[in-house]
């Protein structure tokens, strides 16, 4: 029984930044305060982050931008292209600031971190006060508004975080203590971590609609119908921790860079230009992770939304003789693969690159007839691009012309924290004028 006991009396927190992308933009753009702002998905398609003001005007998550503009009529809406360079930097700062308060931090997504607070609970520290401290510190140090949910398992912490957001009177902090029944009865089943639409309708068919009812189901039934994952979720709702803080981030099994083109493309040269550009991004990631790839997959497709047109999609997998991270070697395979699957009678909307079967340096299987690949040029390319900006130096095949396939990001904000030319400007002239 010792193992069960050790899973009891644990305390976890989930800290989550409200409207993360919009909050990052607002940090460097005080003019956005109090305004309806949305950040758009790649190619400026849909709303992926909304300010409270935009939510209040009825703009929904994932809503196409043209529709959002229609709803608003002549009310002002600021639409920004997504700037993942800035969001990524602020996300790491967010994690670092949380680490100043707690040693067990797990980055769960770009805007959410789990913290384990068991030791604080044991030391009889006031958890609500601690949650306030977290909130105040992230807001003051990084200017980001956050919600903190606390519970005895990660699943309960996530529920608490949902409630902290839903109930404005809680001021962004919610603790689930002993009396879980009253709380979980109010939580719809689809808000539970790990319960997707399929399980939701299965549960609805037996009359289960909220988290409490689910947690009270017979465990055998859950095991049988919802696998061990569903069972863990049920135990977690009952307060038995089944998930630990992953303090070591999982190394990736694959690296994918796939993007829709700004304008559809027809010719093979442009397809090669775009896909080799994505390959360069993927190889940069490979270097960052200090890994080597054994498999390269290339895929291309037409636009599935143009239902009146002929559709085509094809992918090709290249088995690489010896795991590599040499851009030029991979680019060579990429071009040959594209030539093989390209058909001239289609308009292409998207292509993608996947590097998989990733290994560390010590796991490379060498080949007697295949010398060590020389990746020093790639190392230089990756190094220069990391130091300046991505695309500063690139292979000629990725094009110098119009590059109409490039992602549409018409209203992208400056790289506030990664380019000296882009840092915010403090204007102190008006003071002089007043003085005179």
């Amino acid at each position: 029984m010792e193992s069960i006991d050790s899973n009891k009396n644990r305390i976890f927190a989930l800290v989550d930044v409200n409207n993360f992308y919009v909050s990052c933009e607002r940090l460097f753009r005080p003019d956005l305060k109090g305004k309806a702002v949305i950040v758009m998905s790649n190619n400026d398609g849909c709303a992926v982050s909304r300010s409270e003001e935009a939510k209040a005007l009825g703009i929904k998550m994932g809503m196409p931008v043209f529709q959002a503009k229609e709803i608003l009529g002549n009310k002002e809406l600021i639409t920004l292209s997504s700037n993942y360079t800035v969001y990524g930097d602020i996300s790491s700062r967010f994690q670092e600031v949380l680490e100043t308060l707690c040693s067990d931090v797990e980055v769960y997504s770009i805007d959410e971190c789990f913290l384990e607070l068991t030791h604080m609970a044991k030391a009889k520290k006031d958890l609500r006060e601690f949650a306030k401290e977290i909130k105040a510190r992230v807001e003051q140090w990084l200017g980001l508004p956050v919600c903190v949910g606390i519970g005895s398992t990660k699943t309960l912490a996530k529920v608490a975080n949902y409630l902290a957001k839903e109930d404005k009177s809680k001021q962004g902090i919610f603790l689930i203590g002993q009396d879980t029944e009253a709380i979980l009865t109010k939580v719809p089943i689809n808000e539970i971590w790990g319960i997707g639409p399929a399980y939701q309708s299965l549960l609805a068919s037996i009359g289960v609609s909220n988290a409490w009812e689910f947690s009270q189901l017979r465990k055998n039934w859950i095991r049988k119908n919802m696998t061990v994952v569903g069972l863990r979720t049920a135990y977690e709702l009952c307060g038995y921790a089944c998930y630990e803080i992953d303090d070591v981030p999982q190394t990736k099994k694959e690296i994918v860079v796939a993007r829709a083109f700004g304008e559809r493309i027809h010719d093979l040269d442009s397809l090669i230009e775009a896909t080799c550009t994505y390959l360069t991004r993927a190889v940069e990631k490979l270097w960052r992770e200090e890994r080597y790839a054994r498999t390269l997959t290339i895929y291309i497709r037409t636009d599935p939304f143009k239902t009146d047109e002929k559709q085509y999609s094809q992918s090709v997998r290249v088995q690489i003789p010896v795991a590599t991270r040499d851009l030029f070697e991979l680019q060579n395979y990429c071009i040959q693969a594209l030539k093989q699957i390209y058909r001239s009678d289609f308009l292409y909307k998207k292509s993608g690159v996947m590097l998989s079967a990733l290994v560390n340096e010590d796991q490379i299987q060498k080949d007697l007839f295949y010398g060590d690949s020389d990746d020093r040029i790639t190392e230089a390319v990756v190094g220069i691009n990391n130091r300046y900006y991505t695309g500063k130096i690139r292979t000629a095949i990725t094009g110098f012309g119009k590059r109409s396939w490039r992602m549409r990001r018409d209203t992208i904000s400056p790289y506030f924290t990664s380019n000296w030319k882009d840092i915010p400007v403090i204007s102190v002239d008006h003071f002089m004028q007043k003085d005179i």
Binding site: P30, V97, L142, I426, S427, V428, F431
Partner: protein, 139 residues
């Protein structure tokens, strides 16, 4: 989606004669004394997670050593206190104020009317964005 498998041969195959390097000679004794070179970041970024950079436009604060075209280092983890110079937001822009303390309360020192004290309020027109920790001036 069907998966076509292709195997691509390299046009040339390099066969290494010796696939390792031989170490010869005596290791340089100075390697033991290698130190990392000085990095100004160590001076300027007391708390790197909360450090930001901005550029100054205008000469309104030159008597405080902050000149047009300078860069300023802002550390948001520094609490506001008497005499500190802060980047603030005002009417949708960034600008600068000095902070003063009278009794237990912090004020902005407005210099346009010979030291006017403006209380610092949480949701006021002027809000503290961060405290300036260093100025970088090009001579």
């Amino acid at each position: 989606m069907s998966q076509a498998q292709i195997y691509i041969e390299k046009s040339t195959v390099k066969i290494p004669l010796l696939n390792f390097t031989l170490a010869a000679g005596f290791p340089r004794p100075s390697d033991d004394y290698l130190r990392k070179r000085l990095d100004p970041k160590d001076l300027l970024e007391i708390n790197p997670s909360t450090t930001f950079y901005m550029r100054i436009s205008g000469n309104g604060w030159s008597e405080y050593g902050i000149h047009d075209g300078d860069h300023v280092v802002i550390d948001r983890s520094i609490p506001p206190s008497h005499g500190r110079i802060a980047v603030v937001t005002y009417a949708g822009n960034f600008t600068i104020r000095q902070i003063g303390k009278v009794g237990d309360r912090l004020f902005f020192l407005e210099r346009d009317n010979n030291l006017n004290l403006v209380p610092i309020e949480p949701e006021g027109d002027v809000e503290i964005w961060g405290i300036i920790s260093f100025g970088i001036h090009r001579f």
